[in-house]
């Protein structure tokens, strides 16, 4: 249980940092991960030992993924009013994101592990993690690349959308949420309530869509 304690305290340190530094890079998961990684390297504790010790924490991931239904249900009025823009925009964005991640990774001859892990990068990390047994990706790599994808998205996507003259908060939100999931949604919320709401919808839809894509395409692989 000592590593559960270290992980909790490292995450709390990350949340405190986020309160003081308003930057997408001050992300509690990123900071928590780096602190725990440093602690493991310093104490020379192997990753497998750590993973076994923190199992109680990982067990909460399954109900947390189910809980994503709540924001989707709460926003049902918005979804009903603007379903064409949100559904078609979001699903297109996620599909293209998965396609580029898959095809470009293949074109660049990345290692098989990296190729498989990149399939799920546009889905929120817990979903990427739960999909790893089906894509045959190393779970750690799938989760890490998904977090990185959210971080980079939160950093670059607002500027991209402004450059493309996408000004409507709902359009900006669905674009960010459909590929940059949780971290992106946190950033989108800073732009306003509507942007955050649309981003939550994008994240929820991406979780479902990436799962379906993996079921149809990835799951049939070796």
């Amino acid at each position: 249980m000592i590593w559960v304690m270290v992980t909790l305290l490292a995450f709390a340190a990350g949340m405190l940092t986020q309160l003081r530094v308003r930057s997408p890079l001050a992300n509690p998961t990123l900071i928590g991960t780096l602190i725990v990684a440093a602690a493991l390297l310093l104490t020379r504790v192997p990753y497998d030992t750590y993973l076994h010790d923190v199992q109680p924490l990982s067990a909460l991931l399954t109900p947390a993924v189910v809980a994503l239904a709540v924001p989707l249900y709460r926003l049902r009025a918005l979804l009903a009013r603007q379903w064409r823009a949100l559904l078609i925009g979001g699903l297109t964005g996620t599909t293209l994101g998965v396609m580029v991640d898959t095809l470009l990774a293949r074109a660049l001859h990345l290692s098989p592990d990296a190729q498989r892990a990149l399939h799920t990068a546009p889905a929120t990390s817990p979903v990427a993690l739960q999909l790893a047994p089906f894509t045959h990706a190393p779970p750690a790599l799938a989760a890490t690349l998904a977090v990185l994808s959210g971080l980079i998205g939160a950093l670059i996507l607002p500027a991209l959308l402004t450059a493309l003259r996408v000004r409507h908060p709902l359009a900006r939100g669905i674009a960010i949420g459909s590929v940059a999931h949780g971290v992106g949604t946190a950033r989108a919320r800073e732009e306003g309530e509507q942007t955050g709401a649309a981003s939550s919808i994008g994240m929820g839809l991406a979780a479902i869509l990436v799962t379906l894509i993996v079921a149809v395409v990835g799951g049939s692989g070796p």
Binding site: A69, D101, A175, V179
Partner: protein, 128 residues
Amino acid sequence: MTSGSVTARLPAPARFVLGLGLLLAFAAAGQALTGALGLPLPGSVVGLVLLWAALGLKLVRLHWITDAADGLLGILGLLFIPATVGFLQFLSAGAAWGLWVLVMTAGLLVGAGAAGLLASRLLRPEDS
């Protein structure tokens, strides 16, 4: 909280426990369904869809699960730290990380760019 039902008057800790139990029940139901049908899907995502449907059909009341759901989603970032710490196993990939970041950045730009442009054209104007 709008309804005058007994459950709306449950104290918050009891609602939290009820909610967590229900979330686990839907996860288990999703797991059972994927297992029975042999679907290549994680049970938790199927549980998400089942819960969404149950809320829509009013089989599950929103206030039964909000406390637990908001609590878990509030610390979602904590729950996958055990997995992300596993990047330690891939430190030896070294320069390859640059290519991985390049690929996902391309995916982000193309996906979000298309979604943003498409959504702004499809938005119904009355809502702004």
